[in-house]
Symmetry: C2
Subunit: 302 residues, 2 copies
């Protein structure tokens, strides 16, 4: 397949391969979520299952000029129960993707993380990867972890790398260039990430993490800007052309992508990996467009 | 004074108040540094003192069509000695600003940090603040710490806040809105910065840190985007109009500003505070324009 270099291309690719995935939506009662799902169903890659207060859901559908009879609606007004039902459907393979609607993230994740009835296998690492589209970068930039792991340890970082490789593969990138991000390229163990990064690089050398080209620590300039690599003369196989950035802390990944959403014209799609099926968790403040791209990404990954 | 909202305005302001500061430049042998200083001297706010290998300095000046006789040159070819001489000049008040040229940062900072002959008072916190100009933000955004403190503790964070207040005051901002940045606005002590931030907020309430409006933790959206504040309904005096962002780690501040330089059309000026006089430290890979703005900022702060 050709490499997918934009979020619109991702949507076109989904249509071209004829994917149609069932999305179990927990508390599907807000306009942005419903709007995104209507668009996804009309384009044809998703079949939403709207779980929540049925009369509210019908009202929001009507507000978006959609017919209630075109949608599968499951009436579970209580939020906790709606989350449990959505998770159950995914476990029972009645749905392919779990999505959060107008429910508190804590309540939602409690159902996902339930040890007996949840979606996370024992000892699995749950992490968030997103694909960021930037007008000034000529391909998508995959970023981890922008939402879940506060301070990933070595095993969590390795999981982040592996999830990123799984995701980039779906975009037609067989050997992604992954930069392990720090404040500079110097190895220095007064930076907590330095020892983890050097171990990961050597693991890749040894074939313990296949199918990627990796280097770190690298700063954002050396990861994403060829000119900086030339001027500084640092030999790195990433060479200013990173496909993916692994950040050492939530605060760094989160601030990086939010800065670029606000000031760099960025658009993104993201989801939780590590669970048995993709989980879409978005903030209430995210746009309908972002929610649509997240749904599309989840259908690509499911 | 009127508030300065761009780096060009900063330069105009410097000219209008008739500032002229002496810059001791350590190993002034590269084109970008010399070019920035020629421009600063011609505009009139700086008088460079070029320390290094005299014949190399004269060559670079000639290459920039500048006459050697228009510049004060001090012939100290050895890098370590050049750094010592530049620091001595600043200590003896023969210069107002110290600037790094084509010398390794470690060697340069060793002279700055020398306990007997350096520029850092005992127990003072050295930190880096920069003013970032973004096409999509209607004022300058001050950011700390992008270059020096890896993981600032409470006292270092307080110093960062105070340095930021000192700097914004020079830009005509008497009560800066300072956002303490985290991955979210939730107080949660599994994030290392959360307890420091809440203490700093209460210190501001008690008048222990005067002349600012502060809040945190806040994410970048709540700090810099009014719409996000409205949608999320979080009451914060920052209200999406932050003048300054304090980051909890070097990796987060550094990645944030580098992302915006690459993908957000950013331009910046920055320097080291905490020393008895401003210290300009820039990477070899920075442009002449950035170096020029750093020199201008140092003259404003000296």
């Amino acid at each position: 397949m050709n490499t997918i270099t934009s979020l619109e291309q991702m949507v076109k690719h989904l249509c071209s391969i004829g994917v149609n995935k069932r999305i179990a939506v927990t508390v599907a009662e807000d306009e942005n979520t419903i709007g995104a799902l209507i668009e996804a169903q009309e384009i044809g890659f998703a079949t939403p299952i709207l779980i929540g207060n049925k009369s509210k859901i019908i009202d929001v559908l009507a507000g978006a000029n959609a017919k209630a009879e075109d949608y599968k609606i499951v009436d579970v007004p209580d939020h906790t129960n709606a989350a449990k039902e959505a998770v159950r459907m995914v476990r029972m393979e009645e749905a392919d993707v779990l999505m959060k609607g107008l429910i508190g993230t804590d309540k939602f994740l409690k159902a996902v993380l339930d040890k007996e009835k949840g979606l996370l296998p024992p000892k699995a690492v749950m992490s968030y990867v997103c694909a960021l589209e930037l007008p000034k970068y000529d391909k998508l930039l995959f970023i981890s972890d922008t939402a879940v792991l506060p301070y990933p340890d070595l095993n969590q970082k390795i999981a982040m790398v592996n999830y990123t490789i799984q995701m980039t593969k779906k975009f037609g990138i067989d050997n992604p260039k992954i930069a392990l991000i720090g404040a500079s390229e110097k190895v220095n163990d007064s930076f907590h990430y330095s020892t983890d990064y050097t171990q990961i690089c050597k693991m890749v050398d040894r074939g313990q993490i296949p199918n990627c080209t990796i280097d770190g620590p690298l700063d954002v300039f050396l990861a994403c800007d060829k000119k900086s690599v030339e001027i500084k003369g640092i030999p790195t196989p990433i060479n200013g052309e990173a496909d993916a950035l692994i950040f050492p802390s939530l605060e760094s990944a989160n601030s990086f992508y939010k800065g670029l959403m606000l000031f760099g014209g960025g658009e993104l799609a993201g989801l939780i990996q590590g669970t048995i099926k993709p989980v879409v968790v978005m903030s209430r403040s995210e746009s309908q467009k972002s929610k649509f791209y997240c749904v599309a990404l989840s259908c690509l990954m499911a």
